[in-house]
Amino acid sequence: MGMAEAILLTIATAATPLLLAAIGELVVERSGVLNLGVEGMMLMGAVAGFGAALTTGSAWVGVFAGIITGALFSLLFAFLVLTLVTNQVATGLALTLLGIGVSGMIGEAFVGQPGVKLTNIHIPGLSDLPYVGRLLFGQDPLFYISVLLTVGVAWFLFRTRAGLTLRSVGDSHSSAHALGIRVIAIRYAAIAFGGACAGLAGAHLSLVYTTQWIENMTAGRGWIALALVVFASWRPLRVFVGAYLFGAISILQLHIQAMNLADLAFLPGPLYWLLAQLKSLPSQFLSALPYLATVAVLVLISRNRRLTIMNTPASLGQPFVPDR
């Protein structure tokens, strides 16, 4: 396995949890609900996935435990904001804080324990192809699920009647209600889907990315996923681009920080020069680079204001009380 392939593999592993969480949140926000609890749901998924895998010895049980825990945890949020009509921003923040606390408490027993790793796919022959074998046919199963999910959500939102209905609820809940569309039920479903995706993203962290439980191990990835959704103007394929861009730069900047310039003299002149320049920058700047670059690129591709506003769910974050 070459150096480039190894780097690409780590990039995919870094991007997958972001993509999973962001795609789930995209569906939630398309239905008109802002759930700021992604970080908390991811942590709950991570700790439940780790614990279930450790207890049963099966990483797949861990994956399902992560999905279900994320979904159940998000239903708490759904009950508060949809049924009790609490403020979505405050409730989402509370959900994150609750998730951090509860996952830390549950996970106390798991700290320092070796976890179970979800094994990578191996297709004899194909996975061993030079250069692309591991990349295309030898990654962890959640990578493939995240890609399928992105395509599936894009297809669902823009090609199916149910997706149209979901978007209509996000565009104007009062119009949707007047037509007899069950706004609250659809939002419950969207929130649960978002929670399941966040839980799956968390399980990826504790079963694939690292195979251990560390308190607060999401380290802000939930917030990045939230930002990706907005900067990608609620478009699934742009979320994909954003997640991979962020993953790529955060991995590459680590390599740049760690490498020794003297070993790279074989590189072509301009590339060598660029790396030398980057290395001469303060390391804090390199650490901030993924954030800066992702925001810059997504702002650039969303510069068509008309398209952006049309894709913005018009009733995002607004409370809805149907009159009966």
Partner: protein, 523 residues
């Protein structure tokens, strides 16, 4: 009339004792209504009489507290809109239930309960729209369409469900007179096909012209069933309002009585702020002391954008584009413009004209702290509660604001009473320039007459008054000249003596001012 068991065969819909209670308010109180097959039945009443509540119960959007609904003679329960559609009840909403970010065809698809592909729906909608002479582009984004075009989508969407009863909630309030005529042709055709129509309106002339029967509501109760063709507009109005409404008096002003130009708009242009808003295209207008100028236009043609620019909610780069009392005001804020003697009444009462959860006196201070700082705020920024309270009570008295407490929260007042207070709050200052957007929208007839008379009074006392309104009757009642806004452009004001509904209607539809009498097709 009421329910007539003997005619059960011909009755499509019978409503008996339908009641809806919201908290302490009985919005519909034992309402009876009978709609026969193949008739256009008018539901008349003022704003807040309970018309919308009643039809929402018929369409399943609201659940009645008591009473029964008979459809084709059989008792039915209508728990949700899809149940209403299955029975054969279709509805065209007053505040359109459309989605701006979706296409016309997608909007139609959302109300059909099956999985017909969008392309098929688009084709069907096109065919139907041609058959009824209601042209429609199924792939246009709703946000880009005019109000009249949006209503067409609503009507086509309703017709695609082949309903037996079509409910139209205030359908002409957003149309030009010519578009309304087109709608009447469509309704006539539907009636001849044996469909029934429940037609909600407060425009008496069109009800007299179109409808076979009428039910009149007042304060949630049925006050009468009648044949509108046998009634006069005055007798219908009496039934609706309960007593005679004082007619608005407008003495014509002669050229010599008009004073200097107090409000001048010069080449005012504005880029659209959002993808669906209208740009303003070099608007020119002069309003002189002593006159009321009206601005007509179908909703969404830039009136809101124009008001924001004139009031200073949005400032201009060119200071001379808005001039108040001969001085440039284009780069001043709302308070700056108020200090020059101007006053503004925005369209939305709650949330824009008044802070809903604040008391009337507090709302008074909010809008006048800049201009009446000395009177209302003492040294060190301490609010003079006594002075404000006295002023608030003065306004309440002058405008006859009816309220439940001495100084209630703005949201506790009915629309009409709050509007009287908001207009009165500005009149109390005796502003030399007053700009009002939709002065009587959703206001009952009595309060509307009071507000209109007050606007005329202010102008005759030497102020310049500019009124933006969708209500043509209102503009003809109070204006000395009417200009029309269409697609962000403003026509020359037409002196009231020369203005007719037809001329104004053509301008509203986008005809060039010079060719007003030749153009036929509204844009």
């Amino acid at each position: 009339m009421g329910a007539q068991p003997g005619l059960g065969e011909a009755n499509l819909l019978e409503v008996r004792g339908l009641t809806k209670i919201f908290g302490t308010l009985t919005a519909c109180d034992h309402v009876d209504l009978t709609v026969r097959k193949g008739e256009i039945h008018a539901l008349l009443g003022e704003n807040g009489a309970g018309k919308s509540t009643l039809v929402k119960m018929l369409f399943g959007s609201l659940e009645p507290n008591a009473g029964e609904i008979l459809w084709d003679g059989n008792p039915v329960r209508i728990p949700n809109p899809s149940a209403a559609r299955r029975l054969g009840i279709g509805m065209v909403f007053q505040h359109f239930s459309l989605f701006d970010a979706l296409t016309a065809a997608e909007n139609i698809a959302l109300s059909l309960q099956n999985d017909t592909p969008i392309a098929t729906i688009a084709a069907k909608a096109s065919a139907l729209s041609h058959a009824y002479g209601l042209p429609l582009d199924p792939f246009a984004l709703v946000g880009d369409l005019s109000v009249g075009e949006r209503q067409r989508i609503e009507i086509i969407r309703c017709l695609l469900q082949t309903p037996q009863l079509i409910i139209l909630d205030e359908p002409t309030s957003v149309l030009t007179p010519q578009e309304a005529d087109k709608l009447f042709e469509t309704l006539d055709r539907l009636r001849s096909e044996g469909k029934s129509i429940l037609y909600i309106s407060h425009r008496l002339e069109e009800v007299k012209r179109m409808c076979d029967a009428a039910t009149v509501l007042r304060h949630g109760k049925v006050v009468g069933h009648c044949d509108p063709r046998q009634e006069t507009a005055a007798s219908l109005a009496r039934m609706m309002v309960g007593n005679e409404v004082q007619a608005v008096v407008r003495e014509p002003v002669s050229e010599s009585e008009r004073g200097p130009v107090l409000l001048e708009i010069r080449n005012l242009s504005r880029q659209p702020a959002t993808p669906f808003s209208i740009p303003l295209r070099s608007i020119n207008l002069r309003v002189r002391a002593g006159e009321v100028i009206g601005i007509a236009g179908v909703a969404g043609n830039g009136q809101g954008e124009f008001f924001e620019a004139v009031s200073g909610e949005v400032m201009q780069t060119d200071a001379a584009s808005v001039r108040i009392r001969g001085k440039d005001a284009g780069r001043l804020s709302i308070s700056g413009r108020r200090r020059m003697g101007a006053a503004f009444v925005p369209e939305e009462r709650l949330g824009h004209g008044a802070a809903p959860r604040m008391r009337l006196s507090e709302n008074l201070l909010l809008s006048r702290h800049a201009t009446d700082g000395q009177a209302f705020v003492g040294s060190g920024g301490v609010v003079k509660a006594g002075a404000i309270d006295a002023a608030a009570q003065r306004i309440i008295q002058a405008m006859d604001v009816r309220k439940s407490a001495r100084d209630p929260e703005a949201s506790a007042l009915s629309g009409g009473n709050l509007q009287k207070f908001i207009v009165g709050r500005e009149l109390d200052r005796r502003p030399s320039v007053l700009v009002v957007n939709q002065p009587t929208w959703g206001v009952d007839a009595g309060a509307a007459a009071k507000i209109r008379q007050a606007l005329i009074g202010l102008a005759r006392a030497g102020s310049a008054v500019l009124v933006i309104s969708q209500d043509l009757d209102e503009l003809f009642e109070i204006s000395d000249a009417i200009a029309v806004m269409h697609n962000g452009e403003l026509s020359q004001p037409l002196p009231i003596a020369e203005a007719t509904y037809e001329k104004i209607g053509l301008l509203m539809g986008g005809a060039e001012p010079g060719h007003a009498l030749h153009a036929t097709e509204p844009a």
